[in-house]
Amino acid sequence: MAYVAVSGGQEAIEKSIELLNFFRSKTDKNLDLEAIEKKLNLLIDRVMSEAGFYTSTYAALALKQCEGSVEEAVFLLRAYRSTLNRNYYSLPVNTNKMRVIRRISAAFKDIQGGQILGATYDYTHRLMNFDLDKESSENIYQQMCIVLGQEKPLPVTPCERVSTQLKKEGLIDQHSENNEKPCDITKNILEFPCKRSARLQTLSRADTGFISGLAYSALRGFGQVHPTVGELRTGYVSLEIPYLFDDKEAIDLGEILISEVECFNETSEGHQLKIGVGYGAVFGRNENKAIAMAILDRELENKGANPPQNEEFVLTHGDSLEMNGFISHLKLPHYVTFQSKLDAIRKTRNPNSHESQL
C-alpha cells in the first residue's frame, strides 16, 4: 500500500499501530509492571534520568508500552511531564546528609566514614548464568524478606565529603554560597555562554551514551582532564519544600535515590597548581553517567578546541528527544525538497538548460 503519493495515509497509520501490537504480544507470558519496576532497576534509573522525571512506576509503564525502548520510554515520560503543573520548587538538597548505600573514593586508600563498596557489578565476573531460567521469583523474594527481617537498620551517620578536607587544606577553592535562582531549562532556551545551573541540568538529563562517549574521548586526549574520582556516593536524599506559613519550617516529601560524583584534576593557578573539581549528579544508580557528567563539567570550565570543551557542542546535542526526534524525522517524506535539490544539481550538469549565470 503506497504510503503517501495516494490517499490512504490515515489507514496506513492505523494498520501500523496494529502491527505494533503484534510485537507486544508474541507470548502469553505476563510482563508485570511491578516486576519491571522492581527488578529492572538500572533500566528504570536510566529512563528516569534521561526523562528528568523521577517516577519508577510510570517509567515501568512506559517501558512496557514501547517494547522496552529507552528512547520511546523517555519520550512518553517527557510528554506526560509536560502536561503536569509544577506546584513547588524543593529546597536545595543537602547531599551531605545522604543516606549512603555506596560510597567510594579512588583518590585515597581510606577516607573518613570509610569506603563502602555497596552493591555494584564492578567486581562481578561477567559470566552468563544459565541457571537463571530456573529461578523462582517467589523463592528469592521470600528468602530476601527473611534476611531483611533479621537485619537491624543502622542509624544514619552522614559522612563528610572527601573534598571538604582538601578545601580546608586550601587545595580546592572554597566558594561562598550562591543562592541565585537556578535556570529552568525546561522553560527556557539555552543561551551561550551558559550559566552553570543550565549546564548541570542539561548534562544530568542528557543521553547516557552521548555524554559517556564525550567523556571517554576527553580521557583519551580530546580534552585536558585526566581525573581521579574523588568521591562517588549513591544513596537516598530527602526532598523538602518550604512550609507556606513559616519558612523556617519545611515539609518533607520523601526520598529519592541519586548518584553524586566529585572528580578531581590538577589545574593551574598562576605559578602553582590546585585541584579543580568537576561535579556530577543523576537520578538512580547511574554511576558511570554521573562520572561522565563530572568529567564534562570540568572540561567545559576549561574551554578549548576539542569537542568535549566546546560548550555549544556538548550541551546542544545530548538531549534524547531532540537527538532522536531529529534523526528519526529523516524518515518523513522529503520529496519536495529533494526535487528542489535535484533541480539545482541537474541545472549545473545540463549546459543547455539555462545560460550560465556568470
Binding site: V4, S82, S340, L342, D343
Partner: protein, 280 residues
Amino acid sequence: MNPNYNFAFLDEGSKKEIRRSILKAVAIPGYQVPFGSRELPIGRGWGTGGIQITLSLIGKNDTLKVIDQGSDDSVNAVSIKKFIVECTDVNTTTSTEKATLIQTRHRIPEKPLTRNQILIFQVPLPEPLRIVEPREEITKKMHAEMDYAPIWLQLYESLIKYHKITLSTEYPCMVEHRYIMNPSPIPKFDNDKLHEAPCLYLFGAGREKKIYAIPPYTKVQSLAFDDIPFEKESFKGKKCRLCQSESSYLDEIFDSKTGEKFYQCSDTSYCKERQNHVLE
C-alpha cells in the same frame, strides 16, 4: 475530545506564553524569538514547533487544514491533524479556501491565502546562517550587527564554482531590509508567495525553540545579486498527469508497477479542485 487534557492539550499558561512570543515575532518581522518550547507527544523534529503555534492559536470556531509536502494525506499530516482534533474537536478541511488555520511542512499552498488566514510552518532549522557558521553564539551577533557578508559569499562562491546559484531549498530571504530569515524547507518556487501577502505567516521550530513571523504586507526578498535574477525550480515542458497544470510545483513520481516516470501536482487539494472544474 480527550477529557484528560486541556482544550488544545497545552495548559493556558503555556499557550499565553507562546502567544506572547508570537506577538513579539510579529512585531519584529524575520527575527527569531526564543521561546520555552514544550514537549509534546509527537517527536522533536516532527512538527512540534508548528503544533505549539497551532495549539496556542486554535479556537473552537477554527477550521484546520494540515499538509505535508503539499498533501493532506501525507502520513505525518494525518497524524498531526488527528492529534489536534483529539484535543480540540475542531472542524477540519482539505480545502485551502475554507481553512482558517493551515499548518504546513515544506510547501505553501498554490492558492493565494487571504487576510483571514494564518499559515503555520514547521521549521527544522530556523537559522539561515547555520550553513556558514555552526555556533548560535556567533550567529546571534551576526544578526544583531547585520553582518551578512558570509552568506552572500556562499552565493558568490557557487557562481564561481558551478556558474549557477546552487542553494535550493531553505533559500534565505531578506525581510524588510533588516533580518535575513530561513523560510523553512519550501522550494524556491514558493519564496515569492511570502512577499507582501495579505495573510499572516508564522514559523515554529520546536526543537530549536524559536518562533518567527512575516506579518501581512511585509517585504520579503530572496537573496539575489542585482544582476542575477532569482531563479526558481523549472518544470518546463512538464505538466500534471491528473489535472494538466503547467504552473504548479510538481512531484516527480515513479509508477510503483511499471517504474515509469510521471509528474503530479504536489498540492493535492489544488489538483483535485482543478480536476473537478475540468469535469464540470
